[in-house]
């Protein structure tokens, strides 16, 4: 979320797309309801079926799964064609005026530089045009936006093809409804209005998911909705600490705080190479050396010295040519390349894509460690209950009982980046232990096991700082301090990340978290719920990263001279009276939030109006390098019942296709129906945390599949019947929920049916059912490799066959 | 030839058992039921351990109330059928008996027509009690498991249940009085209470037809 939950109350229009907020993020609706009550805000729900969100929306627009780029592309086109964009904002705060390299072109669904064999783009031509005579190679710009090679004109041209009729033919949205959506949301392009886009997994779980989100950003930049109250693009995150766990870098391509993990690319050979590759010339990220060195100091302590590159070489470097993401991991496991796995509260047999294959892959493991509160389908994959033959499965399985969130203490980061402390209410149940204790014990014992080793490969483990106090409370405290970081010369906690240094005199485990625990105390424990800002920022409640900033990119809320674009949407502004002349300050950015800007850089200073300080250009990227193109382009999902009518390129040209067993691609002749998966408010994710609770099992006892009355009639299915859903990869038995809320789509004259199935279920728990992910494919997004859970092909029939 | 002071069997052991166990059930359920019926009878509640206890006892005895005749029916179906046949066998004698009965009731000497083993009044009793018992059991079951029945049926069940026990209890008043304290009933009462036998001479006078059947015409 660029903004946060309470800020939703400041919006004038919420476009909820790829999200069923009322079910999966009810608090979004708490604040949207207030926005509607108090400000007359409109709520738009775009979804393949009419959901609990749609029930409370002002406009419901049906949209076929997997057509977000087309839907938003049409809105982008509508905004540009009708001159509804926020002109001054677009010219100054985005790269609209930048002129693009002559080599760049877009033709029939492909951008310049495509290599069909590698399924990869050479992005050389996707660059700004520079004056060859300019030694700084500054990009050329046309602030009038008239140059046909400027980003704005290219954008306009690119999305011209997304006219309302074409879009509706792709998405299946009725034209009048679509126009109503366009009109309503485009109205937020005025300076005193803000619109927010709320999205979740309905956006992310597609083969072109990153471009879906890019499309949202482009639309929001055009409307000037970034960095203002009630605006932004807001990913409604699904787990209590998925934000925090990502901040901590639990992904194959990241270290902590979004520092890229090095690969075996020669550029990452040493620390200097890493810094060169990762540090841009301009912007806040020029501090990258401070961040990486401070992280290494936190991890390896005194062993990390300037001479040994601060132990940079201890970091593992993955193979740049291979895929280490979730799908890649399970493909490797299926091939028997992975011998052991440690699983902390995850349940891929229910939650992973192509669950049959992922369950099968587990059988190839020599050992598995499962840490959980409950027995899950994953930790018991070897059992007869799972349909397996235990006598043929060699895997040694360890189950470690973890305690629940209120049987221990620690912090979690919510979707709005608030790091909040959880206090301990009771002792862990039975012999269960906190994951912190388990990890600490594991680390301690691993270090003991390697003690005395002289093998250089073991040196990282020996040098890793792990001398934490054993007592639970002190252990937590020490880890929090390490995350925040120290000034190593004074042994004092650092107050903010601006104080980090690249000379090894500071340590900081996670630079964006710096400031959460200072000499003043643990700020994550702050519980002052007075709103001193009037716009619901609650600055004294917990701590938001970065530096307690609640609305990211908030410099955008002020114009070129530093005044708010409008009184209604002000966040920060330049106050010339607040500067300290002794320090040569001309003034200061002040206001209702911590400025997302250098506080003393005046609007009149060079770069004083570049609000996106985390970006190398300092402006929002309407044109940006992504694996599958600088502009979003609509492609059909991997499995689609229709042809792409926008170009001859059917499928995202840069998405990785896995040619492997147990991952067949279904064809529309055999599987004519679009399938999608989703959740309900009563259950959570892979279900172990809710299917084991009788009160929740009572409310949603079985897996069900929703379908239109029309499809049910065609298939002879009655409401409440047991039906089978079959895809090229598996079968699932579920209860039919025949409903008016699902309607067949008219896609370019062809009637296309879609069904939706809950994916929470497995055979363990009080509420049980087949895992819907037996149906979903191993195909991922071109940029992030997030699996395409949300659009695939299937067939449905009555009974169990 | 039976001597006048010889005894003959009027009520079998089974009948006596059913009669008296049902009597106990009836009164226990009557008093526990009164607690449930109205707050007026709350003074009775402590006897049963509170209104809750009354409810419990009421339901417990309801099980006996239903089970006892069912067991009787199961063990001796023929005597039940014969009893019922007799109860529904109405002739001139029965109607005349009933017409003259009010005079007898208040003490006038009347000549009653000859009666069977049970007289016309007892026949009414024999019809009424099983019938009321049946409806009490049926409506009681509906009330007990109210959540499983449509609301209107439950509402109807309350009326039926209350009407039945009210009529039944009214009838019990008559029955108890006529069967015990009313002149001439003592013999029958002691028979029911004791070994089931009555003196032949008494039977000859009160249940002439039956006497003749059992003993033969003199």
């Amino acid at each position: 979320m660029t903004n946060h939950w309470v800020d939703l109350r400041n919006t004038d229009c919420a476009l909820i797309i790829g999200s069923n907020a009322a079910e999966n993020h009810p608090m979004a609706f708490k604040w949207l309801t207030e926005a509607r009550e108090k400000r007359g805000a409109k709520i738009i729900s775009v979804d393949p079926r009419f959901t609990r969100t749609s029930a409370r929306a002002d406009i419901y627009a049906p949209m076929r799964s997997g057509t977000d780029v087309a839907f938003i592309g049409g809105l982008i086109n509508y905004v540009i064609q009708n001159n509804l964009y926020f002109h001054d904002y677009v010219v100054n705060y985005t790269n609209a005026a930048y002129i693009i390299d002559d080599g760049y072109e877009f033709k029939d669904g492909l951008f310049s530089g495509y290599d069909p064999e590698q399924r990869k783009y050479d992005q050389k031509t996707w660059a700004y045009k520079t004056d060859p005579a300019d030694p700084d190679k500054k990009p050329l710009k046309d602030p009038t936006l008239q140059n046909p090679r400027c980003v704005f004109q290219l954008l306009k041209k690119h999305f011209e093809r997304y006219d309302v009729d074409t879009v509706c033919k792709i998405t299946g949205t009725p034209k009048d409804v679509y126009l109503k959506v366009a009109e309503t949301f485009a109205a937020t392009g005025k300076p005193d209005k803000s619109g927010t886009i709320c999205y979740a997994m309905g956006t992310c779980q597609h083969s072109n998911a990153s471009q879906n989100i890019r499309a949202y950003s482009i639309l929001q930049l055009l409307l000037g909705n970034m960095g203002i109250p009630g605006g932004g693009i807001n990913a409604l995150r699904g787990e209590s600490n998925v934000q925090g766990s990502t901040d901590m870098g639990l992904l194959s391509h990241l270290l902590t705080a979004y520092l890229n993990a090095p690969t075996n690319d020669a550029a990452y050979k040493d620390l200097a190479g890493y810094i060169k590759k990762e540090t841009p010339k301009w912007g806040f990220k020029t501090n990258t050396p401070k961040w990486i060195i401070s992280m290494l100091k936190a991890w390896y302590g005194d062993a990390a010295t300037k001479e040994n590159d601060y132990c940079y070489q201890y970091l593992p470097k993955r193979d740049a040519k291979r895929n280490f993401t979730h799908i890649g991991l399970f493909e490797a496991m299926y091939e028997g390349k992975i011998k052991g796995v440690l699983i902390f509260g995850a349940n891929p047999v229910v939650g992973g894509p192509n669950a049959n294959k992922e369950a099968k892959a587990l059988e190839n493991l020599d050992w598995m460690v499962a840490v959980d509160l409950w027995e899950t389908e994953t930790s018991t994959f070897w059992s007869r209950e799972a349909g397996a033959d235990p006598s043929k499965i060699k895997t040694e399985v360890f189950f470690l009982p973890a305690c629940s969130s209120y049987e221990k203490q620690g912090t979690v980061s919510n979707s709005g980046r608030w790091i909040q402390f959880r206090w301990k209410a009771v002792d862990p149940l039975g012999e269960s232990r906190s994951d912190l204790e388990i990890l600490y014990e594991l680390g301690k014992r691993i270090k003991e096991a390697y003690a005395g080793s002289t093998d250089p490969k073991d040196k990282p483990l020996l040098d890793m700082t792990w001398d934490y106090p054993e007592e639970e409370e002190k252990l937590l405290d020490e880890v929090q301090r390490e995350i925040n970081g120290y000034d190593l010369t004074t042994k004092k906690l650092l107050p903010k990340f601006a104080d980090l240094k690249d000379d090894g005199t500071t340590s900081c485990g996670v630079w964006i978290y710096c400031g959460m625990y200072t000499e003043e105390g643990n700020k994550t424990q702050k519980r002052d719920n007075k709103d001193t800002t009037g716009i619901g920022q609650y600055p004294n409640w917990a701590f938001a990263w970065p530096v307690n900033r609640r609305i990211i990119y908030n410099r955008c809320s002020a114009d070129l001279s530093g005044n708010p674009w409008s009184e209604a949407k002000k966040v920060i502004w330049w106050d010339p009276t607040k500067g300290d002349p002794a320090k040569g300050e001309k003034g200061k950015w002040v206001g209702l939030d911590v400025p997302d800007f250098i506080a003393t850089v005046a609007p009149s200073d060079p770069d004083g109006s570049k609000p996106f300080i985390m970006h190398p250009d300092g402006v929002g990227g309407l044109f940006a390098k992504m694996a599958d193109g600088p502009f979003p382009e609509h492609y059909e999902p991997w499995e689609s019942p229709v042809q792409n009518i926008l170009s001859s390129i059917q499928f995202d040209p840069a998405a990785k296709i896995w040619q492997s067993p147990m991952n067949e691609q279904g064809t529309p002749d055999k599987y004519p129906i679009i399938g999608t998966t989703y959740r309900v408010v009563e259950h959570w994710q892979a279900g172990a945390m809710t299917r084991n609770l009788p009160w929740l099992a009572e409310l949603m006892p079985n897996v069900f599949v929703e379908m239109s009355e029309e499809l049910a009639k065609e298939k002879g299915i009655q409401n409440g019947d047991i039906v089978t859903v079959e895809s090229a990869r598996g079968k699932v038995t579920a209860v039919a929920c025949v409903t008016k809320r699902f309607k067949p789509f008219n896609i370019n004259g062809k009637i296309v049916h879609e069904i939706g199935i809950l994916w929470h279920y497995g055979y363990k728990g009080v509420a049980v059912g087949d895992p819907a992910n037996r149906l979903t494919p191993h195909i991922g997004d071109a940029n992030s490799n997030t699996p395409e859970y949300k659009a695939w092909l299937c067939d449905v029939y009555k009974g169990v066959k | 030839m039976v001597k006048s002071d010889e005894k003959i069997l009027k009520c079998s052991g089974g009948a006596r058992f059913v009669h008296w166990s049902h009597t106990i059930c009836w009164f226990v359920m009557l008093f526990s039921g009164l607690v449930l019926f109205s707050g007026w009878f709350n003074w009775l509640a402590p006897v049963f351990g509170g209104a809750d206890g009354a409810d419990f006892i009421h339901k417990l005895f309801a099980i006996f109330f239903i089970a006892i005749p069912l067991i009787g029916l199961f063990v001796k179906p023929r005597s039940f059928i014969e009893w019922m046949k007799m109860a529904f066998r109405w002739g001139k004698d029965e109607f005349v008996f009933m017409m003259k009965f009010p005079f007898d009731f208040i003490g006038f000497k009347v000549n009653m027509p000859p009666q069977e083993r049970i007289n016309a009044g007892q026949k009414i009793n024999s019809i009424l009690f099983p019938l009321l018992g049946f409806f009490l059991a049926l409506s009681g079951t509906i009330m007990w498991f109210a959540d499983n029945f449509p609301v209107w049926l439950v509402q109807l069940a309350y009326i039926v249940h209350d009407c039945c026990w009210i009529i039944g209890t009214a009838q019990v008043c008559f029955h108890a009085y006529l069967g015990s304290l009313h002149p001439g009933s003592g013999e029958s009462f002691w028979a029911m209470f004791g070994d089931g036998k009555v003196r032949a001479s008494w039977a000859k006078h009160h249940h002439t037809k039956w006497y003749e059947e059992v003993v033969g015409r003199e």
Binding site: R52, M700, A736, C737, T739 | I106, V151, I166, C173, E187
Partner: protein
Amino acid sequence: MAKGYLVDTTKCIGCRGCVVACKNWNQLPAEPTGFKGTYQTVADFSGNTFTYIGFNEYEENGQLKWYFTKRQCMHCLDPACMKVCPQKAISIVDGAVVRDYGKCAGCQYCASACPFHVPRYNTKINKETKCSMCAERVAEGMLPACVKACVTGALQFGERDELLAIAKERVNALKAEYPNARVYGENDAGGTSVLYVLADVPSKYGLPENPQVSALTTAWQKYVKPYGPWLIALTAAGSILSFFSTRLLKVGQRAHEEESLHG
């Protein structure tokens, strides 16, 4: 002045936080259910369910409607259950129709009398159970569990008069878009402490259009109960009369002399 709830169905998102919060606070066990083609898996009240959400979907003029109705005891101003309860176990406490479980005998009369059929029998404790508007919480200055849990403010708790004013204002605002919008509970069933803001007719929310105490219950309560027992008195009196007339007044004594000697 008495307390009440306002259920604004136009704000409810059907998240069922209230349903679980009710079970949590009242420590009510879950009951086995099955998905039968509607989200309304908990279809009705039970001895262990004091509140549930009704889900009803409609399509009118191409517009889809999905109505969520939070159901619980309506806390009538003149409750039929209270009137029929033989134990006087039910009373009105500051707007809440509350059962004294110490007095309740589990006779279930209240269940059938209720025009909304709310009280249900709990076999384990042999009592009729229902929502108490969280009397013990309110007494301590807390909100009822369901109201506290409500995410969007669809549930409000307060003085009935004030809630009624809010409800009317809300309905006025809704009228333009929803001509059938109305307040439910103002006078329905003689007025209830639980008020609803409905955007459509009550039946579409699964609420009775014209909630009334059934004629059977009225007949039972008004006639059978008060007058029926006189029949017993009458027969008892008759028997006594007979006893006196046959024995003490000695009318026709001789007729029975013979038998009496034997008796």
